[in-house]
């Protein structure tokens, strides 16, 4: 009997495997999946810091505008703290907008569906006796399997 389950990468996955092993279930096969690639995505790029991230420009412009704003604030009416904060907010928004615009221009033609929420990153295949399958299934659900099917 086989149980196919998908997981995200997490410590729970290793806990699930070690618990299955502690119950004497040995036929465990894991297959890490390659994630969908191909185009830069605005939201997904949040999870990258290799130069394509869209917070980079935001933070850099935030500190620049905030420094200038705080300086001007020593002369302008509202003072350095408020102008510093206004500068920071403006800079951050500007950075994000620049990236959003660049993203839009780049991806105008490529209209692909975005994947939201949890992603299946690993397929776990557990081979066990029929009597153990309920136990194995419980262990996998308890450790946050995303989806599961049994075959015979």
């Amino acid at each position: 009997m086989q149980i196919f389950a998908t997981f995200e990468h997490s410590t729970f996955l290793e806990m699930a495997i070690s618990e299955l092993e502690s119950k004497g279930i040995r036929g465990i096969y894991a297959l890490p999946l390659d994630s969908r690639q191909g185009q830069a995505r605005l939201i997904d790029s949040l999870h990258r810091a290799d130069g394509t991230s869209f917070v980079d420009k935001g933070f850099i412009l935030a500190f620049m505008f905030s420094t200038i704003g705080a300086s001007k604030g020593f002369v302008w009416a509202w003072g350095p703290v408020i102008w510093g904060l206004i500068g920071a907010g403006t800079g951050f928004l500007l950075g994000v907008l620049i990236n959003a615009a660049a993203f839009y221009l780049k991806n105008r033609k490529l209209k692909r569906r975005k994947i939201k929420g949890l992603k299946s990153e690993v397929i776990l295949i557990v081979t066990c006796e029929e009597g153990q399958s309920v136990l194995a299934e419980d262990i996998l659900w308890d450790h946050f399997a995303l989806g599961m099917a049994k075959t015979k």
Binding site: H9, A30, F63, A70, S71, G73, G79, V81, K152
Partner: protein, 262 residues
Amino acid sequence: MNNFRNRYRSRRYKAHVSLVGTTQLHLRSPFTIALWSVAFPGFGHLLLNKYLRGYALVVWEMFINQKIHLNLAMVYSFNGQFQAAREVLDPRFMSLYIPVYLFAIWDSYRTAVDINKVYLLAHRENSRFSTYSIGAFEINYLDKRPPWLAAVWSMGIPSTGQLYLHRIILAFFTLAYTIILIAQSRLLLAIHHLILGEIKAASAVVDPQWLMYVPSFYFFTIYDAYTTSVENNKLFVDEQRNFLLRNYQPAGTVIPAGSKVE
């Protein structure tokens, strides 16, 4: 005590999990690193996990800036008071500032380019590295941590984001700097006045020379916590993939294609 002995004799490792922190190679935009060095000499190096160089440059920047009153000169210059800027700058040490400032920018750019190459080689070599460390003082392990949470902690008080990610020495350094900057610039006092609606008092109470360190420092700590957390998570995933591939794909496994049962 690490869970790792260097008997694999790898040429390059892409990460090291030690008692006081996780050090990691990953791809970075050299331009972004250089811009952080423009913000504050040393920040580019801190982002590259080159901490000793980073600390040296950050401490130097603050020392020399206090000596020549560069921040005050900046405040005057941005407001068009160029004569006042001229007067406040101290020429005795002024020229000492420029070479080190430019060096910090150039060196962080160069190092980012180099580390990207080293990362690619280490990534292809895909050698095992220390992933867990336990000792008398600390425990460190790889884990997934939400980036936004690290950023939010750093927004609250710089250094907590770094502590959350177990960059202990950077966290300590950041906390010490935060306390010095807050105390000397009297920023919290100004915020206190602002909350009470006393805008004039708030502007009068802050010290411009010290306040001007705050924007770059504050946003740096948030940015650092955020990107470090992202890369930390990628490292966790990468390590777990390798673990699964090495241990859970026994040779000769045959998986019969049965039909689904409820």
